[in-house]
């Protein structure tokens, strides 16, 4: 192909696909500042003695374009009660708006009520419920199929496959089971990988991106029958948990020998899943930029289960409770 044609094609493709993106400042004003709750009580069968405390974090909302301040509330009294309104735990303040549990050992089918008293006199309340565990059978590593790809040798490595099943019967108070997935990685080497840039060989690294809010409900698995059947999670979900797109599954390793991968499946309530779903939608809404901005749905506020008891002020965030099933695997050098 001669040069003029080549350049004109590149020019067109550039025009269509690259276009121009710039950061702008639009004075959108600042809305009312609100209290934010970020907390989760967890039942984890791998931690029967509850050695890892649960954390409730309390803060305030800020201007959307303010990337410097993260206001927190350090003088609140945070109490968790059961469904009979018996005090289970008064949480201990550890700094930076964080309050941790010390006495409470969450159980499946447990109902937990969070009470939060601020120094301003405001009293907020939220409640949640712990659902049954997901049937997480296995997490196994698979080597990349190709050793030579279209652009040269494919490095040793592979990806992981999740063998987890939706449990038979209608869980969550007969509303269907609902799950949130999290995956973590411990890299052996400090790879220049967009997902995990740090060398955190001693620490599980969580990939903080909106598309790592991986969610599933029985309806998304196609099983919303009166009595659901046992079924494995479907392919898009499995791929999402692996953090990989189908197109590159067989050609590019995602993980390399020595890497460890951990997957957690949180079994949450339908309302909690809806909250995560709305959060994910808003985080991804137009986040791809360009065309996706035009196809974005109108921004809608993420729901909350934190209600003012003695105040008309609205709070933000979610107080959740969940059971968690987890597995981990290490990529082995072959």
């Amino acid at each position: 192909m001669n040069h003029p044609i080549k350049y004109s094609i590149l020019f067109i493709l550039f025009g269509l696909l690259s276009a121009c993106i710039k950061t702008i400042n639009i004075d959108a004003g600042l809305g009312e500042i609100q209290v934010v709750v970020d907390g989760l009580l967890v039942y984890n069968p791998n931690d029967p003695a509850k050695l890892i405390p649960d954390t409730i974090k309390i803060g305030r909302s800020v201007d959307y374009l303010d990337n410097t301040s993260r206001p927190v509330i350090n003088d609140a009294v945070v109490i968790v009660k059961d469904s009979l309104l018996q005090v289970l735990d008064t949480l201990k303040f550890i700094g930076e708006g964080k309050y941790i549990t010390s006495k409470i050992k969450p159980v499946i089918d447990g109902i937990y009520i969070l009470n939060m008293y601020l120094s301003t006199g405001e009293h907020y309340r939220a409640s949640s419920y712990i659902n049954r565990l997901a049937d997480f059978r296995r997490l196994y590593a698979v080597d990349t199929i190709r050793t030579v790809g279209p652009v040269g040798p494919v490095p040793k490595g592979g990806f992981v496959v999740l063998d987890a099943w939706d449990v038979a019967g209608q869980g969550d108070r007969n509303q269907g089971d609902n799950y949130r997935f999290k995956y973590f990685v411990k890299r052996k080497f400090n790879l220049d990988n967009p997902y995990f840039k740090k060398n955190l060989n001693t620490e599980w690294q969580f990939y903080y991106q909106p598309d790592n809010l991986i969610l599933a409900s029985e309806s998304s698995q196609g099983n919303r029958n009166p009595i659901s059947i046992e079924a494995p999670f479907n392919l898009p979900l499995k791929l999402a948990v692996m953090g990989v797109e189908p197109a590159i599954l067989e050609d590019k390793p995602i993980y390399f020998p020595g890497d460890s991968i951990k997957v957690q499946i949180y079994s949450v309530t339908e309302e909690h899943l809806f909250f995560y779903n709305r959060l994910r939608t808003e985080l991804l809404n137009g986040a791809g930029g360009g065309f996706s901005g035009l196809f974005a749905t109108p921004i809608a506020n993420v729901p909350t289960n934190v209600l003012g008891v003695n105040t008309d002020k609205k709070a933000l965030g979610w107080f959740g409770a969940a059971s968690v099933a987890e597995k981990s695997v290490e990529m082995i050098d072959y």
């Binding site: 004109s8 067109i12 493709l13 025009g15 276009a19 121009c20 993106i21 710039k22 950061t23 702008i24 639009i26 959108a28 600042l30 809305g31 009312e32 609100q34 970020d38 803060g59 909302s61 201007d63 959307y64 990337n67 993260r70 790809g149 279209p150 652009v151 903080y208 991106q209 809010l213 196609g222 079924a231 494995p232 479907n234 392919l235 898009p236 189908p246 197109a247 590159i248 599954l249 050609d251 590019k252 809806f274 959060l279 808003e282 809404n285 137009g286 986040a287 930029g289 360009g290 065309f291 996706s292 035009l294 749905t297 109108p298 921004i299 809608a300 993420v302 729901p303 933000l316 965030g317």
Partner: protein
């Protein structure tokens, strides 16, 4: 209203009958055609000079006019054509088929020989814009490719939410409130390449007419507009070839006569080739393995005349867009097929009977591991329809239109097939079936030579039918706004009625000619819309689905009044001007609960909100038709608002496509016989969007938030654009006295070409295509910003070579 209507009709007929006794009248009727290629001309004016009576040809080129016995001078006028004068002696009803000749470009003199019909002043139509393909070709276009939809966006009252957005908005309406007809068959997605180009191949298009208000009773089913696109019939005089080569796609059109001119045919195709040209760069990239990035379309039409009274047309369209790579992709496309029969019962009664099929579908899928893992999603909408339309040219003062339509709709809202490790599951939403029918009767009555009224009634009915499901939702909404589903009744009977809606749709238009060069017009219309595009994005995407009105989704209703002043200036009406004001009220507008799930949601109807809408504005239009410099200036000042329970704290809010100011200047200058220059200047106010004012941190994420939950709280920056193209045509050839009969030898003389080059957005304005909240992570901390995306932030070259012979 109904009583008034019938009184008018009876009185009109009575007066007409009484006049018949006063003086015997006869009808002249026939077709008006282009002399060069035999194409019938739509909207050509037929004037009886001595009687000051006039009519115009209908969409099939047919006219009929009643005149007193005796001699008459008949003038046939059509913009861009030489006026034909014919003197006749009328002693009986007479069939008169005429052909008129196109004007050449007159460079050195102002046109004085051809009278202007002043159609804009004298016709009943208001809120109507007509573009013929000759006008379209003069407008500077993206990549130099003439496009119908992008061109009408330069007209008053028409806007778009963004460059490249599919569809268009008319007088504050949504894109699904436009009925787009291709030879009478509806097109549900008019976009190629997400909206950069429309599905209409300009080489096959004859006439484009946009009704924004005062919609005639024969049309219905949408609230905002009717875009009536008519295809060429094909050259009935000789075989001809036309085409073009551009940066994005190429076109080829073949046309020719059938059986010695008793009929004709046309076949036009286009195909984009970005994917083919990209192969050298993408074949070595595994991410682009199996790249599909193209669209194509095929438009075909044929007609045949059986005797003097019958003519049959068959037309079809097949188009498809494909995007994807080997493992993932999606595609969508329209298929339409229409057949029409024109029958002339007598000199005064004309019938067109249309039957059409229309299908829009999309597929979205992914596949890996040789098909062991796969998902495929499909949806489509299918229509079958029969539509008889009659025009009864009762007398010189009354033209009665009547007819009806019945459409059988099949909505397939979506199916999903999943194969995971070889294990297959599937899920699909049940089909929704409906029958939409209507009858109408209207009369265009000349009360006095200067005052004409068109009054009519369309009576529409919609039946949501079985087999299907009837869902019952609670009236009370949950905290998240959703109406919970109470029960679902299965309707097993074929055509068993589930829900019926009936709507009378009165239509009224009036015109009073103040002078020969000026008139005032007013119109009122009620329209009902029974099918709805489910989309809560600013611009439609191909994966949006259509749904019928059901027992839970009521039909949209619209009432619009418009008044206008039309005035032409200059000896030859060189300048056409108009000012129109409109007010539109809309009921049962569909909105959505926050976070509504619109894809494959069997409880979708519980997530819809019904609201109201209103739109009002002023439209200014100045057009210059003659001389070296032609073009128009269009300016619209308008407001479009919505009101829905649970949205924006139950207060009115601007719709996403509310554009306060919208200005377009389109100019074309004939520099020499071979060179012409064209330019567009476009300005539009920023449209409102929802952007967050606050945020909060949760699990390391930054969640956007709008306290008070306002809707469309911020306007994006204004839009500016300037385009420029130059066109070079071939030298005029000296034609032989006798054209060779051999096509290829004749082609040497007939071959014409033009080269169009220039720039779209020559100033490189970085107009906001979209503004969106952006979240990036720095050291595991989210950083939030507002980003502006400009699609064409620099001049885009236009280069096209067109030819015909």
């Amino acid at each position: 209203m109904k009583i008034y209507f019938y009184k008018m009709l009876v009185l009109g007929s009575f007066f007409s009958a009484s006049q018949l006794f006063a003086q015997q009248k006869f009808a002249i009727s026939g077709y008006i055609k282009d002399k060069t290629n035999g194409e019938v001309l739509i909207g050509a004016t037929v004037v009886a000079k001595e009687n000051n009576a006039a009519t115009s040809t209908n969409a099939y080129g047919f006219y009929s006019i009643s005149l007193p016995q005796g001699p008459h001078t008949i003038l046939i006028q059509y913009v861009g054509y030489k006026t034909l004068t014919k003197i006749i002696e009328l002693n009986a009803n007479q069939s008169l088929n005429l052909e008129i000749e196109e004007e050449g470009v007159q460079l050195n003199e102002v046109e004085v020989s051809s009278e202007r019909p002043d159609a804009n002043v004298k016709s009943m139509e208001m809120s109507v814009n007509k573009l013929d393909i000759k006008q379209l070709t003069k407008i500077p276009a993206l990549f130099g490719e003439v496009d119908v939809i992008r061109s009408i966006q330069l007209l008053p009252g028409v806007s778009t939410v963004g460059e490249g957005a599919s569809g268009f908005n008319v007088r504050g309406g949504t894109i699904d409130q436009n009925l787009i007809l291709l030879d009478e068959a509806p097109v549900y997605n008019s976009s190629h390449l997400f909206g950069f180009f429309s599905v209409f191949n300009p080489d096959a298009v004859k006439d484009v007419k946009l009704f924004k208000g005062g919609i005639p009773a024969q049309y219905g089913g949408r609230l905002a507009s009717i875009l009536d696109v008519r295809l060429k019939e094909g050259n009935s005089k000789r075989f001809a070839v036309q085409g073009g080569v551009g940066l994005i796609f190429s076109r080829l059109t073949l046309e020719g006569p059938l059986n010695k001119g008793k009929g004709s045919w046309i076949l036009a195709g286009r195909r984009s080739y970005a994917d083919v040209l990209a192969i050298p760069y993408t074949s070595s990239q595994p991410d682009f393995k199996g790249l599909r990035l193209n669209f194509y379309d095929l438009t075909a039409k044929a007609n045949y005349t059986f005797g003097a009274k019958d003519k049959l047309f068959v037309s079809g369209y097949l188009g498809r867009d494909e995007f994807g790579i080997a493992a993932f992709g999606f595609n969508w496309g329209n298929t339409t097929f229409s057949t029409r029969w024109n029958h002339i019962f007598n000199d005064k009664l004309f019938m067109n009977l249309t039957a059409f099929y229309s299908n829009y579908d999309y597929n979205l899928g992914a596949e890996t591991s040789g098909g062991r893992n796969k998902f495929l999603r499909k949806a489509n909408i299918i229509n079958y329809s029969v539509k008889p339309d009659f025009t009864w040219y009762l007398n010189s003062k009354n033209t009665i239109s009547f007819g009806g339509q019945i459409i059988y709709h099949t909505f397939k809202p979506g199916s999903l097939e999943l194969i995971s490790d070889g294990r297959s599951t599937s899920r699909s939403l049940p089909d929704k079936l409906a029958v939409e029918s209507a009858v109408y009767l209207a009369n265009e009555q000349t009360i006095t030579p200067r005052f004409t009224v068109n009054y009519g009634l369309r009576f529409s009915m919609f039946n949501y039918i079985g087999k299907g499901f009837k869902q019952i939702y609670a009236d009370q909404r949950l905290a998240n706004g959703i109406r919970p589903l109470i029960s679902t009744d299965t309707i097993n009977g074929d055509f068993q009625n589930i829900q019926t809606y009936l709507n009378p749709e009165p239509r009224l238009s009036m015109k009073y000619e103040l002078t020969d060069k000026s008139s005032v017009k007013a119109s009122y219309m009620r329209t009902a819309q029974y099918i709805h595009l489910i989309s809560n994005t600013a611009a439609s995407i191909p994966l949006d689905t259509w749904t019928p009105s059901t027992n839970n989704i009521k039909p949209q209703l619209g009432d619009q009044v418009a008044v206008g002043y039309f005035r032409n200036f200059g000896l030859n009406s060189d300048f056409e001007t108009s000012i129109e004001g409109f007010y539109k009220n809309m009921q049962n507008q569909i909105d959505y609960v926050d976070g509504a799930d619109l894809q494959l949601n069997e409880k979708l109807e519980g997530e819809l909100i019904t609201g109201k809408g209103r739109a009002y504005g002023l439209e200014f239009f100045v057009k210059k038709n003659t001389g070296k410099l032609t073009g128009w200036i269009s300016y619209t000042l308008s407001r479009s608002e919505r009101l829905a329970n649970g949205v924006n704290n139950d207060k009115w809010y601007p719709s996403r496509f509310d554009k306060t100011h919208n200005l377009s200047i389109v100019a074309s200058y004939q520099l020499t016989e071979r060179w012409s220059l064209s330019s567009n200047a476009v300005f539009g106010s920023g449209t409102p969007v929802n952007l967050p004012t606050n945020k909060y941190y949760f699990e390391g994420y930054a969640a956007p938030q709008n306290p008070g939950e306002p809707r469309n709280n911020i306007r994006i920056p204004n839009y500016y654009r300037l385009d420029f193209t130059a066109t070079l045509k071939n030298k005029k050839r000296v034609m032989p006295e006798e054209m060779p009969t051999n096509f290829f030898k004749a082609a040497k003389y007939r071959y014409e070409w033009e080269l169009i080059f220039g720039f779209y957005n020559i100033l490189g304005s970085q107009n906001p295509f979209a503004i969106y909240p952006s979240i990036t992570f720095q050291n595991d901390r989210p950083r939030t910003e507002l980003k502006q995306f400009s699609l064409f932030g620099f001049p885009i070259p236009a280069l096209t070579y067109n030819f015909k012979f």
